[in-house]
């Protein structure tokens, strides 16, 4: 036996120990999450010692009014901000990839993507200063504005990628077949772009649900989001009801992603 198994092609599994490293890698990725899920069913109030199975912590979590209202708050903000940023992202993608080359094309693309690279703390502080400077205080409105801002690149990217992969001869064919610009857009461009738009909206929704730093800085009293509320709970010590909430959020996220995947595969 040599170190490399005989093969005519270059395949990574020929390297010795490939299987073990793969296994370690997946343990590293998922072990903490699996442990979190297991302990959410713990009977005991300790987050580290298993004593028996129970659903009590789920009841405790769901009966927590603060948790419920902050979860609702987060879903509302993510839906509105995700929706708005997807609409803006669609327009941005159309206007950057469906027109003749112009001078500032690269710069425009860069400016749209820049919020991805900016440190969140910078964006957060800037927004906080800006809102107080203009005296804007509309509760959840402030959070929605902030979330739209950092969600745009996330919804823009998949839409643009889809659009770039779409031959513009399809739109030409539509125009050739007696469709004006509007009919060509609604009958051809939009339906073909839909999977990209759905992915963009999903991404924006998840990113918004997940955001902590900017939300913490911008949120006003009475408009707490779920991550901020959970952070508050953890400060008192990790109790299994936090595990239960986290498990619920995980289930929702996985469900949304699976749904998006199914929608995309269908077409």
């Amino acid at each position: 036996m040599s170190f490399f198994k005989k093969s005519t092609r270059y395949e990574v599994e020929q390297f010795g120990g490939f299987g073990i490293f793969t296994l370690l890698f997946f343990i590293f990725l998922y072990a903490p999450i699996i442990i979190l899920i297991i302990f959410s069913f713990n009977e005991n109030s300790s987050a580290t010692i298993w004593t028996g199975f129970s659903l009590d912590w789920y009841r405790t979590a769901l009966e927590n009014d603060g948790l419920r209202s902050s979860a609702w708050n987060s879903v509302f903000i993510a839906t509105v901000a995700g929706g708005i940023s997807t609409i803006i992202g669609t327009f941005a993608a159309l206007s950057t990839s469906r027109r003749a080359k112009w001078k500032g094309k690269k710069a425009t693309f860069g400016s749209i993507m820049l919020p991805l690279l900016l440190p969140e703390i910078v964006t957060g502080v800037a927004l906080l200063a800006f809102f107080s400077a203009i005296g804007l205080s509309i509760g959840r409105g402030n959070l929605i504005i902030a979330h739209v801002l950092f969600c745009i690149p996330f919804s823009y990217l998949p839409i643009r990628a889809r659009l770039d992969g779409m031959d513009d001869s399809l739109e030409q064919a539509a125009m050739d077949l007696y469709s004006n610009e509007w009919r060509a857009f609604f009958k051809v461009t939009l339906p073909l772009l839909m999977p990209g738009i759905v992915s963009g909206a999903m991404l924006a929704f998840i990113v918004s649900m997940d955001n902590f730093i900017i939300s913490l800085l911008v949120a006003e009293a009475g408009s707490t989001t779920l991550p901020i509320f959970i952070f508050g709970m953890v400060r008192m010590g990790v109790t299994p009801d936090v595990n239960a909430v986290s498990t619920l959020i995980l289930i929702v996220s996985v469900a949304i992603f699976s749904l998006a995947h199914l929608i995309e595969r269908k077409r």
């Binding site: 399809l170 030409q172 539509a174 125009m175 050739d176 077949l177 469709s179 009919r183 009958k187």
Partner: protein, 368 residues
Amino acid sequence: MRVNGDSAILINGLRKVYESTENGVVALKRADLEVLCGEFFTLLGPSGCGKTTLLRLIAGFEYPTEGEIHLFGKNIANLPPFKRPVNTVFQNYALFPHLTVAENVAFGLQGLKKAKSEVAEIVTEMLEMVHLGHLADRHPDKLSGGQRQRIALARALAPRPEVLLLDEPLSALDLKLRQAMREELKRIQEQTGITFIFVTHDQEEALAMSDRIAVMSEGQIQQIGTPEEIYESPSNQFVANFIGETNLVNIEVVGVNNGTVECSVAEGLILKCTNNHNVVSGDKRTLSIRPENIRFVDPSTSGALPCKLIEKTYIGTDIQYQVALADGVELRLREQNTWRDGKDRCSHALGDELAIDVPVGATQILAD
């Protein structure tokens, strides 16, 4: 009612410059041409010659920098594509992947706001015409290349355009399918009576299908004529070289009598040809001689030119020879590889001293 022989498309001084780049790329220097109603007209040329630009200008995907395009007397040069009664078969077919075959074919008719019953009727008729009625509910990605091609054709013909534009529609198909589609296209053109403007870089395709051909190069039309005219009497070096194979020989006119010209090729080497360009003594021109028109003859024949065989290539149907004449002038010639009463087909050997005959009518003086 349109009558065959009417002018379907009349193009005057059409010019296209792409301004997006620094200096502006001239895609079409100047085009003047007329396509007649019911004609199968081909734009033929190498890639980058401006043929696709010309087609896109007629379709309306580009607007001209200068010039006019008349469709049955009406200038359409500045109308958007959806206001031109002209349809296109795209090179990559451009079928709508989210629609079924039937919905694809119906797309143009719905754009024209035809009644539902009429749309359904025409779609059925069109799918019958291309023999694909059984695929009406499939999506394009479930079809083979040849089937997509026919659906693209059915979709473009369904609104009954005044002129059908075809942008290299056969180039993505394999050889056997391409030849079958040629006949199919020709049949459909004759059946529908619609004027076809066909773009291709394949000269064989152009010669086999067209009523008339416009040969293009470097943004200009080089010659317009029937396949026979283009092949037999090319007007310039580009056309002679691009269509089929030819020998181009530089000559000086040394004598003109009764429509026959004596051309000096080299010291002591005179070729005779018909005077189709009114040349006079002293003119320096180029001659085009097709290889299949030159014959080996017995050296004692009058007018025979002595030569030496320097290359011989067996290519199946033909045998191709290269011979050297006086003063280093070389000519290519072809002989059909036929069975001649037991005579060895390739009896000539390299280095043999032979003689050839170049018939008077077989040589063409080119315009430039």
